[in-house]
């Protein structure tokens, strides 16, 4: 490495005309990938919960749903493998200077993530192809590594994102890193834990409400037999328990952001001047100095960020204008996420209350309409949350060390790549919708498993065509 230290690094910033398109391309790839990740996190747990109930009760209905869902799980995992591969390609295709300079600092996180990915791929195949071919106990056990790998995979990827937001574990001199301490960079970072827990719970909320939305829609159309009921209750219960917890976790996340990235926190609210007892404005628009047209809630920002209504909150004015993120994007995304989060927690509370008091599902069709809305809304909240943290990180790719514009590729043709990717991903989404509808329409066979308990009476089996849609 000696001669390189003497010469200037060949990875000096370039003038890239299409930086904005490059960022959009990365954001698009991420927005396609992350909802699929939620299914990778949560679906194996749903399926195992059902299979565990089958093992305990012997009721073949549980096994039928578990088996059907496991096929969806495999198809979505296959799509997740490719969209994840694209993200890793884009790190090099779009941000070579970032990778050249900092790859060694955070690379270990991705190396370990690759092994999580391997384990997930291997055991998801054993699980899905192993129905009827492994003993029930072995089959159930083969699903456990999938759940574990879903967690460790999230952990490893989030270590890298947390590091980008709160970089530690290296020394930067003349555009080169030295004295790299990868374990400290990835795991000694107190930004990691709230991001991890927030995202992991989001996985259960998104996958839970989206799946529940499908069956709530069927419920509204009159399919209310036991199959629908079980398929609705499992994801809905998990999501309904996770959604209120997410608010507590979100509070913890906000306190960490306030401590480590005060500028990002100021952008959440559009707080221009440093204040003691800072308010939160609902709605409105940041015009460069203050929030216009919003509804002020006095002292709330100080209370949320520091659990002290008169705490001092740093405003955007503390940093030069060039170091501030695009405030309105961050602000709208943050309020969208929080608003949807409270909506989800609200319907969760109704569901849990009715169940605890009356031991039944809510009867109002408005409840089921709300669940149908909650599915797509949870995805919106997920993406809004990532916009909050990632656009809130701007203009930095490595917070405080490297600007996004310094990271970008010198290659031309970004708009062509972006347009191509938009078309290809539109086809991908159409294909996912198509395959899910096809899998949903497959004839329903309630089987007890290889050596059969008798199938349910025909009357208990829903008609195939109406099963989901």
């Amino acid at each position: 490495m000696s001669w390189l230290l003497l010469t200037a690094t060949p990875f000096t910033p370039v003038d890239q005309e299409y930086l904005f398109e490059a960022r959009q391309m990365q954001a698009l790839s991420f927005a396609v990938h992350i909802p699929i990740v939620c299914f990778g996190i949560a679906f194996p747990a749903f399926v195992l919960l059902l299979e565990g109930m089958w093992l305990r009760t012997g009721d073949p209905l549980y096994r039928t749903i578990a088996k059907r869902w496991s096929k969806v799980m495999l198809a979505l995992f296959a799509v997740g493998v490719v969209t994840g591969t694209i993200l890793s390609f884009e790190l090099g295709l779009l941000w070579p200077n970032f990778m050249a300079t900092f790859g060694e600092v955070f690379g270990l996180g991705f190396t370990l993530e690759a092994f999580s990915f391997f384990v997930e791929a291997i055991f998801i195949a054993i699980y899905v192809y192993g129905w009827d071919r492994l003993s029930p106990r072995a089959h159930f056990l083969s699903g456990i590594p999938v759940v574990v790998a879903g967690f460790t995979g999230s952990l490893m990827v989030i270590t890298v994102n947390a590091w980008m937001n709160n970089p530690t574990g290296f020394t930067l001199e003349g555009g080169r890193v030295s004295d790299v301490r990868p374990l400290e960079a990835l795991f000694g970072n107190d930004y990691l834990w709230h991001e991890l827990v927030h995202m992991y719970l989001a996985g259960f909320i998104v996958a839970g409400f989206l799946t529940a939305a499908v069956y709530a829609f069927a419920w509204l159309r009159g399919c209310r037999d036991r199959y629908q009921r079980v398929a609705l209750v499992v994801p809905l219960t998990v999501a309904a328990l996770a959604a209120p917890v997410q608010i507590v976790v979100g509070d913890w996340a906000a306190r960490s952001v306030a401590r480590e990235q005060p500028t990002k926190l100021a952008a959440f609210e559009g707080l221009h001047e440093t204040e003691e007892g800072a308010p939160v404005h609902l709605g409105g628009w940041y015009d460069g100095d203050e929030i216009g047209y919003g509804i002020p809630l006095p002292r709330l920002l100080s209370l949320l960020a520091f659990h002290d209504p008169s705490a001092r909150v740093e405003g955007l004015e503390e940093v030069p204008a060039a170091d501030r993120p695009p405030v309105n994007v961050v602000r709208v995304a943050f309020q969208t996420m929080v608003g949807i989060g409270f909506f989800l927690a609200g319907i969760s509370a109704i569901y849990l209350f009715v169940w605890l008091r009356r031991k039944r599902l809510p009867r109002s069709s408005w409840f089921y309409r709300a669940i149908v809305a909650a599915g797509p809304l949870s995805v919106v909240a997920l993406i809004a949350g990532w916009v909050t943290t990632e656009v809130g990180r701007q203009p930095w790719v490595v917070y405080g060390h490297m600007r996004t514009e310094e990271a970008v590729t010198g290659a031309s043709g970004i708009p062509v790549g972006y347009a191509t990717l938009v078309i290809v991903y539109a086809c991908l989404l159409a294909a996912i919708v198509w395959i899910l509808r096809r899998l949903a329409r497959a004839p329903l066979e309630i089987q007890s498993g290889p050596s059969g308990v008798a199938p349910l009476a025909a009357g208990a089996v829903p008609s195939d065509a109406e099963e989901q849609r």
């Binding site: 096929k71 790859g103 054993i126 107190d190 096809r438 308990v453």
Partner: protein
């Protein structure tokens, strides 16, 4: 070998695994391309079945190679990806189309749908290894200078040497796939499929050998150092071994000894990659040796140790998966196992489970709200997770077993 070279060895192992296993997947799709009619349908189904359980794992090898590269040799990764943007983007699009087609083929019902999906699958399965092959060619022949997009975006890979490596990648995959599929057919007792792929394996073997010879000639006339050094010691030994393994595979295939041919075909691919590595040593990119490109010592150590720990989990898992597949446990007519031997009907006391959940949740809530970090906050989070998990089990098992309305 120094510590600086160790991650490169791991990358070459990963690349070999990807070329053999991922290559066989690409190759299987290649054979679907030409398969028509009734027998063609059987061939296509056979190829899908053989890929099924191992598809995802095979393609994680590519990610493995990439992440080691950007961790251990970050500037090399950045230089390659910024200069070879075009072929890598083509490969990326191919990977998306291929994965999508694979994920949805199970849902195809009508012949016309099946045909369309298969066609996308096959074309992208040829395009992707070809594009990745041109990338290997561009690296091997020194057309990727160090720096952010410092090489020519077009001529770096759009040239005879890169193309011939692209063709070699496609042909090798087709060859290995035909050998594997013949073996899978024989194991499943489908003599018709075994003989159909035996003929394809023989044909592809001869063609792959011919492309390899042409490649040696083209590469030799290229300016790069690698071309000359491929025919010098020590690379020549790997090239010769590859040729020998290729010929052995042909003979084994001719005698229908497919299970052994599987391994000799894989060895032929591995020796090609070894030959490339030996010929290019010690430079990774022009003017940048492995030692110069390597990350700091701590990072290299952490990477090697991380991979070693990962391998402890990965190797038994892979052995389990391939053991199940190669023993035919996932084949369609594989025997059923014993069913649910005994189902206990015990009803655990769910109220206590729910109480436990609420207790954990209350403690978790309190700790999470009070502490900003440290072990007590950690306990709080564990408590919240315990609440979600335990309450889910408690509510779901009661709410689904009661049957009202």
């Amino acid at each position: 070998m120094t510590l600086a070279e160790l991650p490169l060895v791991l990358m070459l192992v990963g690349l070999t695994a990807y070329a053999v296993l991922g290559g066989a997947d690409f190759g299987a799709a290649f054979w679907q391309l030409g398969a028509r009619g009734e027998q063609g349908g059987a061939l296509r189904q056979h190829a899908y079945r053989a890929m099924g359980p191992v598809w995802e794992a095979n393609h994680v090898w590519l990610i493995f190679v990439l992440v080691i590269c950007w961790t251990a040799y970050p500037e090399v990764f950045a230089s390659i990806f910024s200069t070879l943007t075009v072929p890598l983007f083509i490969a990326a699009i191919g990977i998306i189309l291929r994965g999508t087609a694979y994920a949805i083929h199970a849902g195809t019902a009508r012949e016309i749908e099946r045909r369309a999906v298969d066609r996308i699958f096959s074309i992208s399965s040829v395009l992707t290894p070809f594009a990745l092959g041109t990338v290997v060619g561009a690296i091997a022949f020194g057309r990727v200078p160090v720096g952010n997009a410092q090489g020519d975006l077009v001529s770096s890979w759009l040239n005879a040497s890169s193309f011939v490596i692209g063709f070699l990648a496609v042909a090798t995959g087709a060859y290995v796939a035909a050998v594997y599929l013949a073996g899978d057919g024989a194991r499943a007792g489908r003599e018709d499929l075994a003989s159909a792929f035996r003929i394809r394996a023989l044909g592809a073997g001869v063609i792959t050998g011919a492309i390899a010879l042409v490649a040696l000639l083209v590469v030799h006339s290229d300016d790069g150092r690698v071309g000359e050094r491929l025919l010098e010691w020590p690379a020549i030994s790997a090239v010769a071994s590859s040729a020998a393994a290729g010929l052995l595979t042909l003979e084994l295939t001719r005698r229908s000894r497919f299970e052994v041919a599987r391994y000799s075909a894989s060895a032929a691919v591995a020796f090609v990659i070894l030959g490339w590595a030996l010929a290019q040593r010690p430079e990774l990119l022009p003017g940048l040796t492995v030692v110069e490109a390597a990350a700091g010592r701590t990072v290299l150590l952490a990477t090697v140790v991380g991979v070693a720990i990962g391998a402890l989990v990965l190797i038994p898992s892979l052995a389990l998966l391939f053991g199940l597949v190669l023993r035919g446990r996932f084949d369609e007519d594989a025997g059923d196992t014993d069913g649910l031997a005994s189902t206990s009907q015990r009803r655990p006391t769910r109220i206590s489970l729910l109480t436990l959940a609420v207790g954990a949740g209350a403690v978790g809530l309190l700790l999470t709200l009070i502490f900003d970090g440290g072990a007590l906050l950690g306990f709080g989070i564990v408590g919240l997770f315990a609440f979600v998990g335990l309450a889910s089990i408690a509510i779901v098992s009661e709410a689904t077993s009661s049957f009202e309305q």
